[in-house]
């Protein structure tokens, strides 16, 4: 399971390996904030609704933290649609992504708070991960590189549509990968709230990928 936990598909990812085995020294945080220590005792509390259930494990915490920054990038991308001349169909899609992922970020932040963990801000940057005293910067799977973000921000109209769909397919595919990796990790997703959140992300985004693939086809003609 080691190499698959944070497996990325986008080209410019810094591949980095983390497993539950190194959970004792694994810290997760946003690049802009000091990395909080999340030792073996954390998450401190199981949710009240699942008191009889196994508590979340570090892979769950990392999934939630990572997905917050992953979603945050989708918000930036989708937020450009109105100002970048997106077609009505793409603008509608972007609006739905904006609304959907904004709500999910709140859910994930609430989950962190409920577990007594530091609540990551919704910022799209790379995650800072500290392992065995070494600090690494990494993008979650499917996240756009700075160059890709610049290209999207520079595009207008039809070209924005094409790039938006291409990049958002990549972005969503990464989210689905994150869920697959979570479910393939020992001890992960034993808490119902995480299982449901991850399943919803996977189901919604898989469906949206299919829709975007259909939408993208006509843009390859120019």
């Amino acid at each position: 399971m080691m190499s698959s936990l944070i497996r990325g598909r986008a080209a410019a990812l810094l591949a980095l390996v983390a497993t539950t085995a190194c959970a004792g020294t694994l810290a997760v945080g946003q690049s802009s904030a000091p990395a909080p220590a999340a030792g073996p005792a954390s998450p401190r509390a199981a949710t009240s609704a699942t008191a009889s259930r196994p508590a979340a494990n570090p892979a769950d915490v990392q999934f939630v933290s990572g997905m917050i920054s992953h979603h945050a990038q989708a918000l930036v991308m989708a937020g450009w649609a109105p100002s970048h001349g997106a077609s009505p169909a793409v603008a509608t899609l972007a609006e739905r992504i904006l609304a959907g992922q904004k709500d999910e970020i709140v859910t994930m932040q609430t989950w962190m708070r409920d577990h007594g963990l530091p609540v990551p801000e919704a910022k799209p940057g790379p995650m800072t991960m500290t392992m065995n005293g070494m600090t690494h910067q990494m993008l979650m799977p499917g996240m756009l590189t700075d160059d890709q973000m610049k290209a999207l921000d520079a595009a207008r109209g039809r070209e924005f549509d094409r790039l938006f769909l291409t990049f958002m397919i990549q972005h969503h595919t990464g989210a689905v990968t994150m869920v697959q990796d979570l479910f393939g990790t020992n001890g992960a997703a034993q808490e119902q709230s995480i299982y449901k959140l991850a399943s919803d992300v996977s189901a919604d985004q898989t469906t949206e990928i299919e829709r975007m693939q259909r939408m993208l086809a006509p843009y390859l003609q120019k």
């Binding site: 399971m1 009240s48 609704a49 699942t50 008191a51 009889s52 259930r53 196994p54 494990n57 169909a89 509608t92 899609l93 739905r96 609304a99 959907g100 709500d103 999910e104 709140v106 859910t107 609430t110 291409t166 397919i169 869920v179 697959q180 479910f183 393939g184 990790t185 020992n186 001890g187 992960a188 997703a189 034993q190 119902q192 709230s193 299982y195 449901k196 959140l197 399943s199 919803d200 996977s202 189901a203 919604d204 898989t206 469906t207 949206e208 990928i209 299919e210 829709r211 693939q213 259909r214 993208l216 086809a217 006509p218 390859l220 003609q221 120019k222």
Partner: protein, 676 residues
């Protein structure tokens, strides 16, 4: 306005019901009306009058007090019969779907399931609280068998509480558990069927031609599990491995006498060759033009890609970018013929990466790989499949081999969740569970066509979109709210449904006019927690033998009953209550047949009054004739009813609602037939 019914007309309708003195009828009407007004606690008082066809305004669902067990409540045209908190082991769990058998309701929970005896609906009695954790514990019954879905990673074969921490484990149950509930207080686990993606929901299909077996369709959109955990589970797509667990559903055949022999008998690929439905496609003229463009481009060496079955000429910008990258990768500066050839070779995989693989037999197109839920309606041989980005219409006359006969997609739909047919099978309603049920999608900022129902008419097996229906009361950001599970209410001659909207409460609506669905009743609570979204609300609400039963995620089991209103008369409620089911799985939709009754005839008369379908003087005479027939007996009653039926036959010509007059005539004739 289809429901412009004045109070005086309602009073006339009520007065005509019995031969009893008008005064008495008037009194009963008043007491009924008192309960039909919007009743609230903890919210602003409604300003509507009794029997008003106007919904209470301002909407009392707005601003209800928060609380787990003491939240403010608002109700309109529904009365709370009982509210029963979960039993001890199920407190703090997540209640899910419902199934019914005899006088019992079986309530699924992520902790297992509870069986309630609702013989006395004012005080449901717990028969068993069966602890056996799994999500979502979707439940169905057939005779002495109970089926329970398991999908998540923690469900244990031994029903234990420890979860299954190992990514691969022989202890895990993902699929269907089968219980013998002959002694309902002591269920026995008589078999399990494991599936590759687990069972998010399932559908019990009773084959009218096969009484020895019952079929279970498994729906589940989760990841395919490891082959090491369950041999034969292949996560690769069907073009890479024909045994793929994707792009199919599972059909389990359960021998009723030997449920332990239940096994998967087929895995129909109902998504095969699914292409975007016609309403999003090109016209024949466009297709012909596209072919001409492709042919002429091909003649001059252009780059053509097959995209969704269509030859598409790739644009210069697209081609140039790819050629440049090939040139760059070999360290060159100018493109050569070899670079073009390299691009032609690589093109199918480049296109496949962007928009999915080329359409050919056995190769899946972008589209759903599973269904969330399938509702079968055996009486008409059809099923509605809510599958990812599509609503599918399936032919299920061969239960083990369902085939797709129609598909709809909708850019306003995020995730097709479930389906309900109307009783005639002329309409189908799909719900969109945008956000998966954990998100607040009913705020004023959320669009009315998002996270809603979509209503289609069914004409010659084709689905035609008519309208959206969404809970009309705005909810707070602390309330998860989106379209969820509901069922028909058997009001004869109309399509009326009650539906759960999580913390949006339950909504009663009429979709007889498919283009103009309208809310006619509701019940709602304030949020579980005002400060943050705490998962709660009604997961499912179904009509069962006169009661409206709701599974509240945190608060337990709620039971309601209809109260008469401008929209639903007492006669219509009485007629609905004549329908008796021995059991109910909402995903196995029963065909409703109304036994002959005076209530049925009067219900049609009330509907004719409501829509001015028959002249008022004639309706008065019809009601008088029904009353005197009811007070008569034997040959006298038979003769009176036969005479009334003949009169109604001659009324048809001048009636503005001929169809309904015919239905009334039929109801009267049936009454005459059964009169000895």
């Amino acid at each position: 306005m289809a429901f412009d019914l004045s109070a005086s007309r309602a009073a006339r309708a009520a007065a005509g019901r019995h031969a009893a003195p008008l005064l008495l009828a008037g009194l009963s009407l008043i007491s009924a009306c008192a309960q039909s007004t919007g009743a609230t606690s903890g919210g602003p008082a409604p300003s509507t009058g009794a029997m008003s066809a106007q919904a209470p305004s301002p909407d009392p669902r707005v601003g209800l007090r928060a609380g787990l067990m003491d939240a403010g409540e608002a109700a309109w045209n529904l009365r709370v019969v009982s509210k029963t908190p979960p039993s001890e082991k199920f407190l703090g769990g997540i209640n899910s779907d419902l199934a019914f058998t005899k006088n019992y309701v079986i309530q699924g929970s992520f902790n297992g399931y509870q069986v309630w005896d609702i013989s006395n609906p004012r005080s449901p009695a717990l028969r068993t609280a069966y602890y056996c954790p799994a999500s979502q514990s979707d439940v169905s019954v057939y005779k002495n068998l109970l089926f329970v879905s398991g999908e998540d990673l923690t469900a244990r074969i031994d029903c234990g509480a420890g979860g299954v921490p190992e990514a691969v484990s022989k202890d895990r149950l993902r699929g269907i558990r089968i219980f013998d509930i002959t002694d309902i207080a002591h269920p026995r686990n008589v078999g399990n069927v494991q599936t590759c993606r687990g069972s998010h929901t399932h559908t019990v299909l009773v084959d009218p031609k096969d009484s020895a077996n019952v079929y279970v369709y498994i729906s589940g959109s989760s990841q395919v599990r490891s082959e090491q955990e369950l041999p034969g589970c292949v996560a690769a797509t069907p073009d890479k491995d024909p045994n793929s667990a994707l792009f199919r559903i599972e059909v389990i055949k359960v021998p009723v006498a030997h449920p332990e022999q239940a096994a998967i008998v087929s895995s129909p690929r109902i998504f095969q060759d699914l292409v975007a439905p016609a309403r999003h496609g090109e016209s024949p003229v466009d297709l012909a033009a596209a072919k001409r463009r492709a042919d002429s481009a091909r003649a001059v060496g252009g780059f053509i890609a097959k995209i969704q079955g269509e030859d598409v000429v790739l644009g210069n910008g697209f081609v140039k970018t790819r050629i440049d990258s090939i040139v760059k990768s070999r360290g060159g500066t100018t493109a050569t013929a070899a670079d073009s050839t390299a691009l032609r070779t690589a093109l199918p995989s480049i296109i496949a990466a962007l928009v999915g693989p080329e359409a050919k037999a056995g190769v899946p197109q972008p589209g759903p790989t599973q269904c969330h839920d399938i509702t079968v309606y055996p009486a008409i041989g059809l099923a509605g499949g809510a599958c990812g980005g599509y609503g599918l219409l399936l032919d299920i006359r061969d239960p083990a081999h369902p085939t797709r006969i129609g598909a709809a997609a909708d850019s306003n739909f995020s995730y097709w969740h479930s389906a309900t047919f109307n009783n005639d099978g002329t309409k189908i309603l799909f719900s969109d569970e945008w956000g998966g049920g954990m998100q607040p999608k009913c705020r004023t900022t959320d669009k009315p066509e998002w996270g809603a129902d979509a209503i289609f008419t069914l004409v010659n097996g084709k689905m035609e979109f008519q309208s959206y229906y969404k809970l009309p009361a705005p909810q707070t950001s602390s309330e998860n709210c989106v379209a969820h599970n509901g069922s028909l209410i058997p009001i004869p001659g109309r399509d009326v449904m009650v539906q759960a909207w999580y913390q949006g409460g339950i909504s009663l609506f009429d979709w007889t006019d498919a283009a103009h669905p309208k809310e006619i009743g509701y019940h709602d609570r304030g949020p579980v927690d005002a400060s943050k979204l705490s998962l709660g609300g009604s997961w499912s609400v179904y009509w069962y033998n006169g009661l409206i039963v709701s599974s509240e995620i945190q608060r337990g089991l709620d039971i309601f009953e209809l109260v008469p209103s401008a929209f639903i008369s007492q006669n219509e409620i009485d007629a609905a209550k004549t329908v008796h089911l021995d059991y109910l799985n909402t995903q196995g939709q029963p065909h409703i047949a109304w036994p002959p009754s005076f209530a049925l005839a009067r219900a049609y008369a009330d509907q004719l009054a409501r829509n001015d379908g028959l002249a008022p003087a004639r309706l008065t005479a019809v009601r008088q004739a029904l009353s005197s027939a009811e007070s008569a007996s034997g040959a006298q009653r038979k003769s009176a009813l036969t005479q009334l039926a003949s009169q109604l036959d001659s009324d048809v010509g001048s009636a503005s609602d001929k169809v309904k007059v015919r239905m009334l005539e039929g109801a009267v004739r049936d009454l005459a037939t059964i009169t000895q």
